[in-house]
Amino acid sequence: MNNRHDTVLEVRDLSVDFLTGRGTVRALRHVDLTVPDNRIVGIVGESGCGKSTLINSVLRLLADNAVVAKSSSVVFKGRDVLAMSPADLRGIRGQEISMVFQDPMTALNPVISIGTQMTDILYRLDMSMADKRRLAADMLGQVGIPDPARRLADYPHQFSGGMRQRICIAMALMMNPGLLIADEPTTALDVTLEAQIIHLMKDLCARFGCSMLFVSHNLGLIAELCDEVVVMYAGEVVEQGEVHDLFHRAQHPYTRMLLDCDPARIEEKRRDLPTISGSVPDLIDLPRGCIFAPRCPERYAPCSDSAPATYDVNAVHQVRCFKVRDA
């Protein structure tokens, strides 16, 4: 559907297992995902559905017990990440694909000044130190840190939590990456700072011509920020599409129930909140049919027999549910 020129990242048929003493954890199964140029793609799904495993596969940072299926491919700007040499990978991580994490302190070194940490990222550039520091100060200014040139000398603890996350965003964008991956970047912040950071990321990505893969289980943030949304459940992509289709015309029963459970979408005040009854399946011992069938209020005969493939609602809206095939 998308040719290579307008696509930054293309994940095709990605399956990942983790080998454990208890058995094989089938953490990702046949995941397809496309991040087009200059677009923000959101990934939502319950804890344990495989969001981090997907991101770690893209960056080739999976744990040692992971096995990536032979059929899988992850293509970044025309290059196959799964076949890359360690040297090529180092050239990509943090440079062409950069990350913003949940806790800014995981990305910042507490005993090195912000200025040094920022200029270190530019080690590949043939530039004078003075120019590097000017660039760093300019980036800090762009993320809204007042008096940026002077603050280069400061250490992470001298900034507030919100400012630290701004610094991480500045660092992530310094090398002008093609793709920014943000894994729950605002959960440690409160609503007013969260809103500021989200708006900042959106503005900067547009300005720098960078695509973003944004992981969150906050549906409000996804709706506010993303152009496209990927919904994951228990290791599979169950629905993906344009953000309006997802929020207004969701087709997969899981997506619809997830939206219905969000207290922010419930107009009438109520004490008893909706839930999805049942629990997530054991990824070691998967059900035979549709992965969501055991909890699905709309399941019918075909659902327990075999697993649904992905069916098109329209060219940009795909759903893994028999109801869409049979509609």
Partner: protein, 337 residues
């Protein structure tokens, strides 16, 4: 509803720096007031919500109520008995009736203890003999909807939702009348969040519990709390009935908080944010109204004169020189939102 808890003029103060650091930074008074001039009452069977930004003093207030941090000023009265000046033995008896669910359940559960030991630990702490039996543990697990098979499990073997349930079970062990729930659903998926809140709601109905719910999740607090306090830099800046506050906030900070919550609807994106700027440091509280550095409605008076928390409409208090008028009270002057 009879009154269960009354907090009057509470102040909690922390020492911030060692002697050397305070000399270097030329601090005359190396303290912060994490909670200041806080007063409220909580009635039996009621849920009181406490919201505010990170660092606004919510957890500290909760810990002060349960006696885990000392108060510098003020009084706390539980069920008609003032806690200040009570001897340890009597304090212990009263504290049995107040339980706390901690902010981070997995970290607050000891990793080497089984679920059985965790939920019966309050019996040991309060030296209640003969209650560590399997029967009590099973009953508690039952109350929170966990299978007995979990008695022998360790915290790392639990999912986020299961760990919260264990936290609730432990809080219920001593049959408290008040539970202070600190971010009871942070980090949980929406469905699991609903399960925990429904569980808390059911227990409230069955056991007549009162809750002090601390959170910065506004959509949640709107559904579960009867009354609400909004905190900023350790002070209450607005209090009142939850529905009323959501319908028409009086304080500009409350308005900013409500406006910052993104709507899960791509047609309702905001292009402009109400609140810019960072939260000031407690070491360096702004003069005048402490919110004026971020307030879009600040005027000259706000920069020089501190507003007091006062009644602005029936049942509603706010500390702002120019509160928004309450539609029910048409004609009141205000900053005109």
């Amino acid at each position: 509803m009879p009154e269960l808890l009354n907090v009057e003029g509470l102040r909690v103060r922390f020492r911030t720096a060692g002697v050397v650091k305070s000399l270097i930074q030329r601090l005359t008074d190396p303290h912060i007031d994490a909670v200041m001039q806080v007063s409220f009452t909580l009635n039996e069977g009621e849920t009181f919500g406490l919201v505010g930004e990170s660092g606004s003093g919510k957890t500290t207030l909760g810990r002060a109520v349960i006696g885990l941090v000392e108060m510098a000023e003020g009084s706390i009265t539980f069920n008609g008995t003032e806690l200040r000046g009570l001897d340890d033995a009597r304090l212990r008896v009263i504290r049995r009736h107040v339980a706390m669910m901690f902010q981070d359940p997995v970290a607050s559960l000891s990793p080497r203890k089984t679920v059985r030991n965790i939920i019966t630990e309050p019996f040991h702490i309060h030296r209640i003999p003969g209650r560590q039996s399997g029967r009590d543990a099973r009953k508690l697990l039952n109350l929170v909807g966990l299978h007995e098979g979990f008695l022998g499990a360790y915290p790392h073997q639990l999912s986020g939702g299961q760990a919260r349930r264990v936290g609730v079970a432990r809080a219920l062990a001593l049959e408290p009348r008040l539970i202070i729930a600190d971010e009871p659903t942070a980090g949980l998926d929406v469905s699991v969040q609903g399960e925990i809140l429904n569980l808390m709601n059911r227990l409230q109905r069955e056991l007549g519990l009162s809750y002090l719910i601390i959170t910065h999740n506004l959509p949640v607090v709107r559904h579960v709390s009867d009354r609400l306090a909004i905190m900023y830099l350790g002070r209450f800046v607005e209090t009142g009935d939850t529905d009323g506050i959501f319908a028409s906030p009086a304080h500009p900070y409350t308005l900013g908080l409500l406006a910052a919550v993104p709507e899960p609807d791509p047609d309702k994106r905001r292009d402009k944010l109400e609140l810019e700027g960072e939260i000031p440091s407690l070491m360096n509280r702004p003069r005048g109204c402490e919110f004026h550095t971020r307030c879009p409605f600040a005027r000259e008076k706000c920069r020089s004169e501190a507003p007091v928390l006062r009644t602005v409409a029936p049942g509603r208090m706010a500390s702002c020189h120019f509160p928004f008028p309450n539609p029910a009270e048409a004609g009141t002057s205000g900053s005109g939102g």
